[in-house]
C-alpha cells in the first residue's frame, strides 16, 4: 500500500518541454508511472516522449483525466505553475524546482490552506511508491517495495538512507522528499499523519536537518498522536551557528533553537531512536518492526 501515489495516479508534467521535464518524464515512464499529459503555455498540440502537451493544466485534466502534477518549471515561474495546479483541483502537486523565492511560497502557502490539493516540495526530489509510480527525480532502482514509510527534507540524504534500508531488506511503502526550503507544502507532521492512517505502513523513517522547528513539532505530534513507530536521523550536528549550509532552511540560529541537538532531544523524548549514521537508522528500523 501507499500514500498519495499509486499505479492509478495520472500525472501531468508542467514544464515537460524543458530539458529536465523531458528527461525525467522518460525516467518516470520507465518506472511505470502513468504520465498522461504535459502542460506548457504556448506548446499545446506538441508531443513529448509520446505524451500529449496542452497549453493549460485545466485542459490536460479535462482531456486526460489527470489527478496529479509534477512541476519542472524554472524558479521565476514556478510559483505560478503551483497556483495553476491548485486551481485545477488536483489531488497532488509535486514541485521539484529549486530556488523559488520565499515570498512566493508564502502566497502559495496561503492558497494551499483554501484547497484540498496536497503539495509536495518545492526544492524536493519528489515522491515514490516503489513498484508503482514515482513523481520526481528520485533514482527508482534504489527503492524496494515494503512497509516502511519514509520522509526526508533532503534529496541525496533520502537516497543514502533508503539505500541502507533496501540493503537490509527493508522495503518502503512510500518515500516522500518534502524539501529543504523554509516554506514547503507537506511538512513532517502532515506526512506522518498520512503514514499513520496507512494500514500497510508499519514503521516510519524521518530524516531531518538543522534549521527551523519542524522536527520539534513533529516530535510533539509523534508523542501525542501516533501509534506507528518512528526512527529518526538529523543532519547537521557539526554545523557552526550562524552559517547557512546549502538548504535555505538549513541554518542554525545562535540561540539554541533549530539545532541538531534540540531536534535529537525532542525526538528522543518522543520515543524516537535517532541514528548516528544512516546504517544505524536502518538497524533501528529493524528493531522497531
Amino acid at each position: 500500500m501507499s500514500v498519495l501515489v499509486d499505479d492509478d495516479t495520472r500525472v501531468v508534467v508542467q514544464g515537460i518541454t524543458g530539458g529536465e521535464g523531458k528527461f525525467h518524464t522518460g525516467q518516470m515512464q520507465d518506472y511505470g508511472t502513468n504520465v498522461v499529459a504535459g502542460a506548457v503555455p504556448g506548446r499545446g498540440g506538441e508531443e513529448v516522449e509520446g505524451v500529449p502537451v496542452y497549453d493549460t493544466v485545466d485542459e490536460a485534466v479535462e482531456a486526460e483525466d489527470a489527478n496529479a502534477s509534477v512541476i519542472f518549471v524554472p524558479p521565476a515561474f514556478a510559483a505560478d505553475a503551483v497556483f495553476e495546479s491548485l486551481d485545477s483541483d488536483l489531488d497532488l502537486a509535486v514541485a521539484i524546482t529549486e530556488g523559488i523565492p520565499t515570498q512566493d511560497m508564502a502566497k502559495v502557502n496561503k492558497r494551499l490552506s483554501e484547497v484540498d490539493t496536497h503539495l509536495i516540495g518545492p526544492n524536493c526530489p519528489g515522491i515514490i511508491t516503489p513498484g508503482e509510480a514515482k513523481l520526481g527525480i528520485l533514482p527508482g532502482d534504489i527503492f524496494s517495495s515494503g512497509n516502511v514509510g519514509f520522509i526526508s527534507r533532503s534529496g541525496t540524504l533520502t537516497y543514502q538512507v533508503v539505500d541502507s534500508l533496501t540493503d537490509r531488506g527493508l522495503g518502503q511503502s512510500t518515500a516522500i522528499g518534502i524539501g529543504g526550503d523554509p516554506i514547503i507544502g507537506t511538512g513532517f507532521t502532515d506526512a506522518l499523519s498520512l503514514f499513520e492512517d496507512d494500514p500497510d505502513t508499519d514503521a516510519i523513517v524521518m530524516c531531518g536537518e538543522i534549521g527551523g522547528e519542524d522536527e520539534e513539532q513533529a516530535a510533539a505530534y509523534i508523542d501525542s498522536e501516533m501509534e506507528t513507530p518512528v526512527a529518526g536521523f538529523i543532519a547537521g550536528r557539526t554545523a557552526p551557528p550562524g552559517k547557512r549550509m546549502g538548504h535555505a532552511g538549513a541554518i542554525v540560529s545562535g540561540s539554541g533553537t533549530g539545532t541538531a541537538e534540540s531536534k535529537i532531544d525532542a525526538l528522543n523524548d518522543a520515543g524516537v531512536p535517532v541514528g548516528d549514521t544512516p546504517e544505524e537508522v536502518a538497524e533501528n528500523v529493524e528493531d522497531l518492526l
Binding site: P75, P139, E209, F233, A235, M245, H247, S255
Partner: protein, 386 residues
C-alpha cells in the same frame, strides 16, 4: 544577500523613510570633510556585515574635526569580527529621547510574514526576544493582502509606544513592510528607530537582507557591489557558485546535496576526524564543476585529506568521475589523498571511468569517511614528526 547600512538607507530613503543626513567616506580626509558638511555631532559607523558594531568599537560619536580624524584612523582598516573596514558612514547624530525596534521577517513556522515592534530598541533584539518575548509586539500578515494600516497601528499600540508618536511609528512600519514586500526582503529592520524630543521619528540604522532566490527580479540590488566574503576561499566559492562554508578541521569534504554533505561532515566528526569545510556541488554537476570543487578544497591549506561523496539522482556518476580525473591528472603528484565514494545514477559507469591510480575508492559512505579520517590522521602524524 545582505546590504550594507548605507546601501539599505539609500533604498529606505527612496521609499520615503525618515533617515539622518549622511555621507560615505573611505579615507580620514573624506571623513573629516563629510563630518563638516553633515554638521557635528556625527556618528562614524563602520560599514561591515556584522552585528554589534558599536560594542566592538566600530561606531564612534564625535564632536569636532580632531575627534573625527581620530575616529577615522581607528575605525578605517580595523578588523571587525573577521571583516576589514573599508568604508564608514558619517551620519548626523540624532538627539533622541527614546529608541524603538521595528522589523519585518518571514515566520517560517507560520509560513507568513510577521511585523514586529518593540519599545525596547537600541539593544540586540535577539536578546530581548529570548529574555522578554512579551516586549515584542507581533503582527502576522496575510501575504496575499499585505499589511493593513490597522495592523501596523495595533502592533505599535501593543508595544506600548507613546501616543504622540504612534501614528508616525505605524507609518514607518507600513513603509518597512512595503519595502520587505517590494524588495523581496528576508529580514528588514530598523534598530534603533529613534524618537527625538520634538517627536520626530528617525531610522538611525537599517538592516536589509534580500532573498537570494529573488534577486532575478531585483536587478538594481543584485548589481550592488558585494564585499561580504570573509576570506579568499569564500570569494572563490562565490565565483564558482558553490555553497561553501569553511570550518576548522583538516578533512576536506565534497558532496552533492546539502543534507548528504552535512551528513558526511557529521560522520567525519563521528569517526574522530574534523571537517575542514562544507562544499555542496549541487544537483546535476558536470565534470568541470567537479574539477572546480577539487580545486577549491586543495586551495585550503588546512586540508590534509579529501573525501568525495556523491549519491547521484540528477547528478551522474560518469560526469563526476570525468571531473575527478580531469582535476587530478594535471598534477604530477596528488596534493592530498582523495577518497571517492560514488553511488546512484550511472555510478557503475563512473567507477569504470575513474582513474584508480589517482584516488582511493570506497563502496560505502561509512568506509569512505573512515578512510579519509585515517588519511588526515596519518598526515598530521607525519607533520608532527618532522
Amino acid at each position: 544577500m545582505r546590504l550594507h547600512e548605507y546601501q539599505a538607507k539609500e533604498v529606505f530613503a527612496e521609499a520615503g523613510m525618515p533617515i539622518p543626513d549622511s555621507e560615505l567616506a573611505e579615507t580620514t580626509e573624506e571623513v573629516v570633510e563629510a563630518a563638516g558638511s553633515v554638521g557635528y555631532p556625527v556618528a562614524v559607523k563602520a560599514q561591515v556585515h556584522v552585528g554589534g558594531r558599536g560594542k566592538a568599537g566600530g561606531i564612534e560619536l564625535v564632536e569636532n574635526d580632531e575627534e573625527a580624524r581620530e575616529a577615522a584612523e581607528s575605525i578605517l582598516g580595523m578588523d571587525l569580527k573577521g571583516y576589514t573596514v573599508e568604508r564608514v558612514l558619517v551620519e548626523a547624530a540624532v538627539d533622541f529621547v527614546n529608541e524603538l525596534y521595528v522589523g519585518v521577517t518571514m515566520d517560517r513556522g507560520e509560513g507568513k510574514p510577521v511585523a514586529m515592534v518593540s519599545s525596547e530598541g537600541g539593544v540586540e533584539i535577539e536578546t530581548v526576544a529570548e529574555e522578554t518575548p512579551e516586549a515584542i509586539a507581533r503582527e502576522h500578515v496575510d501575504p496575499a493582502f499585505g499589511m493593513h494600516p490597522y495592523q501596523a497601528r495595533r502592533a505599535v499600540f501593543d508595544a506600548g509606544v507613546d501616543q504622540d508618536v504612534a501614528t508616525d511609528v505605524a507609518s514607518v512600519l507600513t513603509t518597512l513592510y512595503q519595502l520587505w514586500d517590494d524588495r523581496d526582503g528576508s529580514d528588514v529592520e530598523v534598530n534603533p528607530l529613534m524618537i527625538t524630543s520634538d517627536d520626530e521619528v528617525v531610522a538611525a540604522d537599517a538592516v536589509m537582507n534580500i532573498d537570494d532566490d529573488a534577486l532575478f527580479r531585483q536587478p538594481d540590488l543584485a548589481d550592488i557591489e558585494q564585499s561580504s566574503y570573509e576570506n579568499d576561499l569564500e570569494a572563490k566559492a562565490g565565483e564558482y557558485g558553490f555553497d561553501y562554508v569553511r570550518l576548522e578541521g583538516n578533512v576536506g569534504i565534497i558532496g552533492n546535496g546539502a543534507g548528504l554533505v552535512m551528513t558526511t561532515l557529521d560522520l567525519v566528526d563521528y569517526y574522530g576526524g574534523e571537517p575542514a569545510n562544507f562544499l555542496d556541488v549541487g544537483g546535476g554537476a558536470k565534470a568541470e564543476r567537479i574539477a572546480n570543487a577539487l580545486d577549491m578544497v586543495f586551495s585550503d591549506d588546512n586540508v590534509e585529506s579529501v573525501v568525495f561523496n556523491i549519491f547521484g539522482g540528477i547528478t551522474r556518476g560518469d560526469e563526476v568521475a570525468k571531473g575527478i580525473n580531469n582535476a587530478l591528472e594535471q598534477f604530477d603528484e596528488i596534493p592530498k589523498p582523495v577518497v571517492v565514494r560514488l553511488a546512484g545514477t550511472n555510478s557503475e559507469e563512473g567507477m569504470e571511468i575513474l582513474n584508480a591510480d589517482l584516488v582511493q575508492v570506497e563502496e560505502t559512505l561509512e568506509g569512505a569517511v573512515q578512510r579519509a579520517v585515517e588519511n588526515a590522521d596519518s598526515a598530521s602524524v607525519t607533520e608532527g614528526s618532522r
